[in-house]
């Protein structure tokens, strides 16, 4: 595997800067991770980190509403942002000669968002975000699965207990004062990582970074990280069944699990792929192809770092197959893998698929930049990008069995089932 080049720098105001030069194509990625996500939200303010992300596109001192997108697009670039439990990221991909445009746009909103804020803009983006929630959650079959799982896996009051999209009531209550407070607290250079990847000249890029970001003052009073501590296990099998407008029943089995960055997480990552990735995976081979109980199936573990992550399996039943049947069949596959361990063929399969996926992801400089920011922001260790494949390949059969036995067990489970409502086709 070729190594991703990494140069680490830091400004006096605390901004961490990662450079990864690759001049093969004339394109450059600018990527900022702010160490703030929905886990930092206070009670009654759910959804605010994400709503705030929308406000970051509503203009700043030298950029008008809508101009962020139009300047990037006119330059032949793309841009966007996203919010999740641990973080908020902002990114542009641009022709290499327009690097400074991306840096200037990001610096302008980090330095001076608030002078451009108005009630009208907040009201508009609140409506947009409510429609985003309706579109992605409320009007979708099985749409609230992750919201329900988070609420059931983490205790009330835990920072991961609520979803990133937040509740309609809390979105309604968000005020301009909240925008100002959130910005002053979290959007500071010492709470961010800036990565530049692709086609640039190192000295020129660093000079631009210093010029645009250097004058932005740090927040000397960054709050302490939220208390993420949580028992390693749920303690029971928490069951919830929902009648929904869905034609096929679906079962989610979610488990509290070790967080991203740990060896046990890697073992669960490998377990997830053995069970759920590809047509030779255990669940597909057994439940979909051989027994024909399931329409589809999947397994994943959230890459989140606080206290505990979530290891989730989901299986959609064929018509006429009960949720009890697919649940039993799924548990049998988990038990078989935990007790017998994976075969050499299982491990060879998922390792080679993982290596190919990693190479595919890192072909795109935007993804390379995002992963560098992620590892720098979450672990202060961007070099992890070059160890992903080796960490994954180091997981052996004993670690797979041990991780499954520790986490994927009946006394550590949320069983969330959707069944067709009366009259649903």
């Amino acid at each position: 595997m070729p190594q991703v080049p990494i140069e680490r720098h830091a400004l006096e105001n605390g901004l961490r800067v990662i450079l990864s030069r690759d001049p093969r194509a004339p394109v450059v990625a600018v990527n900022l991770w702010y160490d703030v996500g929905s886990k930092h939200e206070k009670a009654g303010k759910t959804g605010f980190a994400h709503l705030f992300e929308h406000m970051m596109f509503q203009g700043s001192s030298n950029v008008e509403k809508g101009q962020h997108f139009s300047l990037v697009q006119a330059a032949g670039g793309t841009c966007n942002a996203s919010t999740w439990l641990d973080r908020t990221n902002y990114f542009e991909t641009l022709p290499g000669h327009e690097l400074e445009l991306g840096l200037w746009l990001e610096a302008d909103r980090m330095a001076s968002l608030l002078p451009a804020m108005t009630q009208e803009k907040l009201d508009n983006q609140r409506d947009v975000v409510k429609n985003e929630r309706r579109w992605s959650v409320d009007n979708q079959p099985y749409g609230d699965w992750d919201e329900r799982i988070q609420e059931l896996v983490y205790p009330d009051g835990h920072p991961y207990h609520h979803s990133t999209i937040g509740s309609m009531e809390d979105l309604s209550a968000a005020s301009l004062t909240d925008v100002g407070d959130f910005f002053a607290t979290w959007y500071a250079p010492n709470n961010a990582v800036l990565t530049i990847a692709g086609d640039f000249e190192t000295d020129a890029a660093l000079e631009m970074v210093r010029r645009h970001f250097g004058p932005i003052p740090p927040n000397a009073a960054l709050p302490a990280p939220p208390d993420m501590r949580v028992d390693p296990r749920i303690g029971s099998n928490v069951r919830e069944t929902k009648a929904d407008q869905v034609p096929l029943a679906r079962v989610y089995l979610a488990h509290r699990s070790p967080p991203f960055g740990t060896d046990a997480f890697d073992a669960l990552d490998v377990s997830a792929d053995i069970l759920g990735s590809g047509r030779a995976s255990r669940l597909y081979a057994s439940l979909v192809r051989e027994q024909r109980l399931a329409q589809d199936a999947g397994v994943f573990v959230f890459p989140i770092v606080g206290g505990a992550s979530i290891f989730t399996l989901w299986v959609t039943a064929r018509p006429g197959v009960t949720q009890e049947t697919i649940e039993t069949a799924t548990l049998a596959e988990i038990d078989r893998l935990a007790s017998d361990g994976p075969s050499d063929a299982d491990l060879e399969r998922v390792r080679n698929l993982h290596a190919a996926h990693a190479a595919g992801a890192l072909e795109r400089i935007s993804e390379r930049a995002d992963r560098l920011s992620m590892y720098a922001c979450l672990f202060d260790e961007p070099e992890r990008i070059n160890r992903e494949v080796a960490r994954y390949a180091a997981v052996d059969g004993a670690r797979v069995s041990a991780a499954l036995r520790d986490s994927v067990r009946a006394d550590n489970r949320v069983t969330l089932t959707y069944v067709p409502a009366e009259g649903a086709s």
Binding site: P2, A25, P26, S61, N62, G66, F69, Q73, A74, A75, G76, G77, T93, P95, G96, H97, E98, E100, L101, W104, D108, N124, Q125, D127, V128, V129, K130, N131, E132, R134, W135, S136, N139, Q140, P141, Q245, V246, P247, L248, G278, R279, A280, A285, R289, R292, Q295, R318, P319, A345, E348, R349, N352, L353, A355, A356, A359, G360, E363, R364, S425
Partner: protein, 447 residues
């Protein structure tokens, strides 16, 4: 206000050069060597899309394509999945209206093994009955799932309502419950035998290859592939009815999925490039007119957009948005207003320049990956576009004037003929839509 910093001089970029061969059996071979790449992408396209199937067997093209990955004469479904995935290769196989495509992306070192398995799959698939019945059941279940999903329900309903009854594009390219329910494995075997053949197929290999070696590998595995494919049928799409409103009832919906449009363009339309610029300006980028008005000014939706879907024959032109139920009628009026405005005046120079510069400037980004480059070659083969298509692409976009955009809008955007399709809660919407004066209303209850 401080002005945005100026860029430096752009570095030139050229779409990668490729070499093209035709084997004696008619197979087209497109090789795109990309030194410094770690990966290779292989795409094999066959003229075996839904446009080649008989109406009575609607869905057989899609089912046959999906069935290919369930094994070969030599390897059953489990063994084929194991063998490919242990190489780190996930073979995909799917079909559209205009072609069937199978392929994979893998580390360059896996090309010889991967190509051998792909050729084996295309030439001697297992096509066994048990797997056929599974794929068929999964397709029927997917149709059920689509009806529960408001966006898919709207997409599918729009196509059914916008095309005249006898136009194939009005149904799903993957078939209807009735047509799929009646299919048998013999039909898939017959379809494979008569449609998958080298004279109607092309293979693209892009990435970490040495062209002579790659060509030799293709010759070894596909050079003695024989057969004579029948290719696609042609038809001329017509629209069903004129301006009208169709409300597809989805009780309890908190949003209405809007699909507004009519027939669009085919892939060889003389105004293709003007249409591309026009659609981007109207609804193809974040700062497009539809998105700025419906999202950034009114907050009616998370996203409003429009696009053409050019195929061998006229695909649809559709403007779409998911809006909260209460503003459905207002949102339709606003959307139609933007279509009218597009036809009324040419775009301003700044607006046009921004969109054109985006489409031209974003060009290198589209081809960052080997899969992106292989995908870019596909339309050259499927639609017989000139070999220099991508080399002249940017200059042809740059040549589009404000007047070209206006002429394209007046010809290709026709709100007076538009089908206005709404998927949402009929109980809340019926009366408002009936009295809105948008056109005659028909309420449909999905089966």
């Amino acid at each position: 206000m401080i002005a945005r910093p100026p860029g430096t001089a752009p570095r030139p970029y050229r779409f990668p050069d490729f070499v093209r061969h035709e084997l004696p059996n008619g197979l087209g071979v497109w090789l795109v060597p990309l030194p410094e790449r770690e990966l290779v992408s292989v795409h094999l396209m066959t003229d075996a899309g839904a446009a080649t199937e008989d109406e009575a067997q609607a869905g057989i093209a899609a089912l046959t394509a999906q069935l290919l990955v369930t094994g070969t004469q030599r390897l059953d479904a489990a063994a084929f999945a194991e063998t490919t995935e242990r190489l780190g290769i996930e073979v995909g196989s799917e079909s559209s209206w205009d072609s069937a495509r199978a392929g994979f992306t893998a580390l360059g070192s896996k090309l010889p093994d991967g190509l051998a398995l792909l050729a084996e799959m295309i030439r001697s698939p297992r096509l066994d009955e048990r797997e056929f019945e599974r794929m068929k059941a999964e397709r029927l279940n997917d149709i059920l799932q689509a009806r529960a999903d408001p966006g898919r329900l709207a997409d599918e309903s729009f196509l059914r309502e916008v095309y005249a009854a006898d136009v194939p594009y009005g149904r799903l390219s993957a078939g209807t419950p009735e047509s799929v329910g009646a299919l048998e494995v013999a039909a898939a075997r017959e379809f494979h035998a008569s449609r998958y053949a080298p004279n109607v197929a092309d293979i693209v290999i892009a990435g970490a290859i040495e062209p002579d070696t790659a060509l030799a590998a293709v010759e070894r595995h596909l050079g003695n592939w024989s057969g004579d494919g029948t290719g696609h049928r042609t038809f001329k799409p017509r629209q069903r009815g004129g301006r009208r409103v169709v409300l597809v009832d989805r009780p309890g919906s908190v949003q209405s999925e809007l699909r507004v449009g009519h027939l669009g363009i085919d892939r060889h339309h003389p105004r293709y490039f003007a249409a591309l610029v026009m659609a981007a300006l109207l609804g193809g980028v974040f700062g497009s007119r539809l998105n700025l008005r419906l999202r950034e000014e009114l907050g009616y939706t998370y996203s409003a957009r429009c696009s053409f879907d050019p195929r061998r024959a006229m695909g649809p032109f559709i403007a779409s948005a998911a809006v909260q139920t209460e503003v459905t009628v207002d949102a339709i009026r606003e959307l139609l207003g933007q279509l009218d405005r597009m036809r009324a005046d040419a775009p301003g120079p700044k607006e046009l320049a921004e969109v054109r510069d985006f489409l031209v400037g974003v060009f290198p980004l589209r081809f960052e990956t080997t899969a992106g480059i292989a995908t870019a070659i596909e339309p050259l083969a499927v639609y017989d576009l000139p070999d220099d298509h991508w080399h002249t692409y940017r200059s042809r976009l740059e040549a589009v004037t404000d007047d070209d955009v206006l002429v394209a809008a007046r010809e290709l955007v026709r709100p007076d003929e538009a089908l206005i399709l709404v998927t949402g809660d009929a109980g809340s919407l019926r009366d408002n839509l009936a009295s809105a004066g948008l056109g005659p209303l028909e309420v449909v209850t999905p089966a």
